[in-house]
Each structure stands twice: as C-alpha cells, then as structure tokens.
C-alpha cells in the first residue's frame, strides 16, 4: 500500500500530480492537476449531472452535504483524469478562509489521503486559489495586481513576485457579489440574483445614475452598502410618487457604479505599483459588464489582462491545486495536524 510515487502512473519522472480538494463554502470540488497547470479533471458538486442522486441541494453549506458528496467526487475526479490514487504526489486542500464545518470535511479527507498514500499535504488559502486560477490559463508576469471579486470577497491584491501576496484594498461591508445579490432582492429576483442584475443592466436602455463610493482619495478599499441603500431609496421614491420604478435603469445604474469604482481602483493600483499584469478572478469575474470595462481599460493602459474561464472563476478545486503548486515546488508542506481556519491571512500564507 505504501508503494507511492512509483512509476505505475502514466507520468514521466519529472511530472507530478496534485489532488486538490475545496469545500470552503457551498461547493464540494476535487481536481487532479499535473505539474501545477494541466487540469486533468475538476469536478464541482453543483455542476455534475449525478448531483441529485445523492440528494445534494444548493447551497451545500451543511457539513453533512459535503460528507455525502466528497468520496463520490474524489472517485469521479480520479476516473475522469484516468489516474489512480497511487499516482498522486501531493494532496492540497483549502484550509481557509471559509465556513468551519465545510472546511473540516475537506481537511479531514485530505489528511486521510495524505496519510494513507504517504504523500505531502498542502494547506491552501482560498483566495490564493482564486488568484492562481489565472496560472491555469496563462503565464503570470510579476509584479501583478489581482482584482478578486466574488460572492464573499472583494480585494485588490499586489503580487510583487510569485507567491507573495499583499492586500492593498478590501471591502468594508458587502462583497461585490453580495451587493449584486442584495440589489437583486430589492428588484424582486430570487436569491442568488446577481446574474439577473447583470443581464438586466446589459439590456437596459436608460440609466439611473447612482453615487460612487470612492472613500478616501488614496484608499483602495471598497464600500457597496451605500449603493445598495441608494437603489432602495430610488425604489421608494418612485413608489411614493405613485410610479413604478424602472428596474432595468436601476440595475444599469448600480452596475455602472460598481464597475466604475472597482475597475478605476484596480487600474490606479496597477499604475501606482508599476505592475506588468492585471489578473481578474473570483465568481463575479463572469460578469460581462465588468470583463468588458476592465478589458478596455487595461488595453488603454497597455496592461496585459488575464481572466480565467468561467468554471475556473467560481469556487473549484483546480485553482486550489494551482495555488498549492507554489508550495509544492518549494517543498513547503503542511503537517498532519493542520487545522481548518475560518479566518486565514492571505499575506501570511505567502511562500
């Protein structure tokens, strides 16, 4: 059984294979990635057909749901990659940040595999994963700025060199994804309604111009709570006048405000720190309006932009393998007493 690292696999001697597990919040995901960049499989619980078979409902927040799916998804990931457990050279897992009960399931599974296969364990930071999803689609040139926009996170991260993270801006209240979902609620879309707002904004012909929260002149932080309130008060104002609010114009106004602030700050950071590349990542990177605006601003600034594919933008395990690869190549492994950490510093996780 301890015949690990043997030449039974299809790989050559210099090749290595990482198995990665991500269970930080709603998704159970397992991926097999060769040499840190080549995704052999990347199974995400909510995206597979057999989902209903084991009673998974979205969101899979409860630990029990992760427990039910994890072994099935590990097996499916191995099968799809055409590899078997002894081929694995290291096991990576999201250590945090996230929901403790959900994280624990992944951590326990990863430790068990690491112990049973006698291969290194690599505790990985969820946001490092989002950022390094970009490494699965292209080469990262340093220094780089990463704009992380997801349901739970909105951050501007400076990467002065590979694997060195410095957070220069973060949201003080709602993450972009949350702001979208909350505005969607106000516009009577079902939760999570972010994508509906994006679509409505794209189709809108009118725009209700809403305020921009720039905060202090030199700040890279964000605040979207006031914008949410502005949308709500616009709705109230129309109702008081006996009119029905123009939801599409509001969606457009909201989207324009968010995109304006987020992209302007990212570009300003890029200029201040003289970076050579912009990285967009996180679930909201799928937002059309945001992608388009950032693309054109980067083009104007002569700044190459990387954006992962939509599947790699949402929570997934391949991105965890991509980040864990930083540590794998440096031989920086975790011990088996690794703990799931609901709060985990990205900067401290740097190589």
């Amino acid at each position: 059984m301890s015949d690990m690292n043997s030449s039974t696999g299809p790989s050559s001697d210099s090749d290595y294979l990482l198995l990665a597990i991500e269970t930080s919040c709603d998704e159970t995901s397992v991926a097999l990635v060769r040499n840190g960049r080549e995704v052999l499989s990347n199974i995400i619980s909510s995206q597979i057909e057999t989902h209903k078979k084991f009673g998974g409902v979205v969101p899979e927040i409860a630990s029990r749901k992760h427990v039910e799916s994890i072994t099935i998804i590990i097996e499916q990931a191995l099968r799809e990659a055409g590899v078997s457990l002894p081929d694995i050279d290291a096991v990576a897992v999201t250590q945090g940040p996230g929901l403790i009960g959900a994280l624990l399931v992944g951590v326990v599974a990863a430790k068990s595999l690491s112990l049973a296969l006698d291969v290194p364990l690599i505790g990985t930071h969820h946001i490092a994963g989002h950022i390094y999803a970009n490494h699965l689609v292209g080469d990262i040139i340093y220094p780089a700025i990463a704009l992380v926009v997801s349901g739970g996170h909105t951050e501007i991260v400076l990467l002065e060199e590979e694997g060195k993270f410095r957070i220069i801006g973060r949201t003080r209240d709602d993450a972009v994804g949350e702001a979208y979902d909350k505005v969607a609620r106000a516009l009577h879309f079902p939760y999570p309604g972010g994508p509906y707002v994006d679509k409505l904004a794209q189709e809108a012909t009118e725009e209700v111009v809403l305020p921009r929260a720039w905060l202090e002149p030199d700040s890279y932080d964000f605040s979207f709570s006031g914008l949410k309130s502005a949308v709500l008060s616009e709705i109230n104002r129309s109702r008081m006048k006996g009119e029905s609010p123009d939801f599409s114009a509001l969606a457009r106004g909201f989207q324009q405000s968010v995109i304006d602030v987020v992209t302007t700050k990212a570009i300003r950071a890029a200029k201040e720190f003289g970076v050579r590349q912009m990285l967009l990542c996180g679930g909201v990177a799928a937002n059309r309006g945001l992608r388009d605006r950032l693309s054109s601003l980067c083009e104007e600034a002569g700044l190459p932009l990387l954006i992962p594919t939509n599947k790699l933008c949402t929570d997934n395990a391949a991105m965890i393998a991509a980040a864990a690869d930083l540590k794998y190549r440096r031989g920086q492994f975790s011990s088996l007493d690794l703990k799931a950490e609901p709060i985990l510093s990205l900067e401290d996780w740097s190589v």
Partner: protein, 172 residues
Amino acid sequence: MQRNQEDDSLMRMVREASTEKDTIAFAEELAKLVKPGTVLALDGDLGAGKTRFAQAFAAAIGVQGIVNSPTYTIIKEYEGAKLPFYHMDIYRLSLEEADELGLDEYFYGEGVTLIEWASLIEPILPSERLHIHLETTGSESRKITCQPIGREYELWCRQLQVQAVKEEGPTA
C-alpha cells in the same frame, strides 16, 4: 413567567435613533453588557443597517480591522478584546439548513453571537436572547426595538434605558 403568557405581552422596548451616530452609541452601550453566550438576534429590512450595527458593536468589543458582511460565508469569526465575536447572516439558508449547521456550538460557545435575519430561524435560537429590530424611519434615523427574552436580557434593556412601551391594543 409573564413572557410565556401570550405573544402580545412580550416586553418591548424602543429607542429612537435620529442619526447613525445614535445607532452606533446604542451598539456601544450594548457592547458593555455582553458576556460568553450572549445571543443578539438582529432583524430589519435590507438597508436598515444590520451590518453597520454589527460593525459598531464589533468595534466596541475590541475587534480589530474590518468587519464586513457575512451574507455569503454565513458565519464570520473574529477575536474581540475579551471575547470571540461570531457574526452570522442566515438570510440565504432554510431553517433545515441552518439547523444542520450546528449553530448551537456558537450560541453556547465562548463568544458573543450576532445573527442578522435571525427571525428566519427563530425556532432554533436559544431560549434566552435579545431581539433587536432596526426600522428605517428616515435616511439616517432608525427605530430600534428591543425584545428581551429571559430575565437577564430584560435587565439589560432597563439598563440601556430604552423606553418600555406597552403593547398597543388592536388599533389601526
């Protein structure tokens, strides 16, 4: 005890906050009373300032750095000066899902729990808790209604000098 009679007889206390500062001041006063196992059940419409209230409360119990919205991650944990702070938003959960999360570990844990949209999971809240309802009455003004459940929380409300209101009859 009287709180077990009928719902209408529950003690309710109201404080009018005319500015955001007043709301923050209330959060700060409240922060002086908390201890391990305190449960604050916070409600109010979208935009009423639940997260803002939580931020002021967290700062007052000594949480350093940014406290942002827990809507997506459901629970965020912080270290206060003396107590951990568990900040929850259960809006996107069903009662069943919330039940499966094992929230009791937080409720009866070492820290203070503040739950946004708490009324959605009322059946699984601890038997003693302080309900706080924020209502928008103007751009910055809020009506803060406290409903203590349990003797200790009733005492708190008296200490907080929130104004007790008699439940009104079925007037229009």
